[in-house]
Amino acid sequence: MILFMMKKLIQLLTLLVAVSLLTFLLISLSPIDPVRAYIGADMLLISPDQREMIEAYWGLDQSVIIQYFHWITSLLTGDFGTSLIHRVPVLEVVSDRFLSSFILIALAWIASGLFGVVLGSLAAMKKGSWLDNLIKGYCYVLLSTPGFWLGLLLLMVFSVWLGIFPTGLSAPIGVTVTEITFTDRVYHAVLPAATLSIIGVANVCLHTREKLVDILNTPYILQARANGYTGYKLFFRHGLRNMLLPAISVHFASFGELFGGAILAEQVFSYPGLGEAIVDAGLNGDVPLFLAIVLISACFVFVGNWIADTLYYVLDPRLRKGGTRS
């Protein structure tokens, strides 16, 4: 188990180095001018000499590889640089927004997981019925739905027409960031989270359904039926037990998609999370902030996959006790 953890940790580190290197190289090849991005409209007021000084100050006159090493070493000391648009350390921008995004994604993850497993189980238990067809159809439509468009619809219905939820910002206007209560954050996260989970249900639901349909065709289910178990008794005794682990595992592995969805949802609802920050950073050439969020998203995906793998080791007796997964 410890060996497994160590292996995963090394994997994560290699991955982060690879992602950071690739991203860094790509960005250094791009036409984005960090000086221009920093100075903004005052660019005309700056003399070429001053410009050179700024470049030297940032180390922009050195080769890309050296710049990369500078960046990496400062990352290791916990210095992510200063955000060009927010004019504060990147870590500060990120840590505040991380919590917002985390709440949003956690809400969406739980809701879509819950509904997905329930709907998927219903569909599988009633395979071939109108209910199954309805649930399957619903999932297929959702898979084709642009998430941000769904967000726009929810925004129109709940915020504009019904006025139940705010149209933007994760804090009420006139309240400083420090005064935001947890409830405020959650309240503002409801609509974006709803958008994310309505879309996210499809994936879990279809997976659950497929898995459970497979399980219902196994010899042990036939035997359980022969022993008199049917309907919900059968489901709770044998179905749920065998289906839950794969379903949760798949759901953890969908962290990446959720993060992508969160970017769009945050944009639609002007919800100040990491997604909105990366879009802002990208549009305004804020490279330090951009890089930081790219790395965070990589960690995020990794953690999701890692949990998905580890769950089997912890929960499946066949792997836990040193057997093999059949």
Partner: protein, 269 residues
């Protein structure tokens, strides 16, 4: 069974072709009819410049389809190329698989933002970005397929007879890979369209002058609070319909090329 996908496909091709007949100039500014709700004259309503939303939507769909076809073709080709490269030897295979892992380690949309950000957006940025984000899945499928084929006795025999790699690829691999390529292409297509719309919506994609669905939807956000729901509703719905048609088409094709499921459920005696 056939009718299930032929009819939507015909409708879809019809819309695509008619959208070519619509001139760009038909999206003209006419302030006298601005902000009109949907009516018989303007089925999808008009925007704040009096442009007909139906024509804008059709033009947007046309652009989406074109980009979708282009990027799906490019990524399928890239996937084929990389899977062939990985089949040459162990080292190359290792390199290709680690690239796949690398690309899958970031959320799709983040990679897309990264690439369009680096390339500075626009049509070129979007197409390259979509190409570079959609190849891993198909490369994986093709790679696995090739690995299996390579072990086949008749392929091994060709190798021992000294046939060059290209010859083996052309005669042994392509006939098997062709259906996979077609299915892969059609599966990527709706994804690419959705991602194009998303990235354009975020502002990294096509420029604001293009009649893209993503642009229409991001513009509509400013007018939603004024109650102009049709600006967002119909264009998005049209996009959704088009993608559903293609998903269905892709699934039907996948089943057709896949094993016939009815044979799997054999009755045990």
């Amino acid at each position: 069974m056939k009718r299930k996908w032929i009819i939507p496909l015909v409708i879809f091709i019809f819309i695509y072709i008619t959208s070519f007949l619509l001139d760009r100039n038909m999206i003209e500014i006419n302030l006298q009819i601005k902000n009109q709700a949907p009516s018989l004259l303007h089925l999808f309503g008009t925007d704040w410049l009096g442009r007909d939303m139906l024509i804008r939507t059709l033009k947007g769909l046309q652009l989406s389809i074109t980009i979708g076809i282009l990027t799906a073709m490019l990524s399928t080709f890239l996937g084929l190329l990389l899977s062939l490269v990985s089949s040459v030897n162990k080292t190359l295979d290792k390199i290709v698989t680690s690239f796949i892992d690398l690309f899958l380690s970031l959320p799709h949309l983040v990679t897309l933002i990264l690439i369009t950000f680096v390339l500075g957006g626009g049509l070129k940025g979007v197409v390259i970005g979509l190409m570079l984000t959609h190849w891993p899945a198909i490369t994986r499928v093709l790679r696995a397929e090739i690995l299996q084929l390579k072990e086949m006795p008749y392929v091994q025999l060709s190798k021992q007879l000294g046939k060059p790699l290209w010859w083996r690829a052309r005669h042994h691999l392509f006939p098997h890979l062709a259906p996979q390529l077609l299915v892969g292409f059609i599966l990527i297509f709706p994804h690419a369209i959705l991602h194009e719309a998303a990235i354009t919506f975020l502002g990294f994609g096509l420029s604001a002058e293009e009649p893209a669905i993503g642009i229409i939807l991001s513009e509509s956000m400013q007018y939603l609070s004024a109650g102009m729901w049709w600006l967002a509703f119909f264009p998005g719905l049209s996009l959704l319909m088009m993608i559903i048609i293609f998903q269905r088409f892709a699934n039907t094709l996948k089943d057709y090329f896949g094993r016939d499921r009815s044979y799997e459920q054999q009755v045990n005696d």
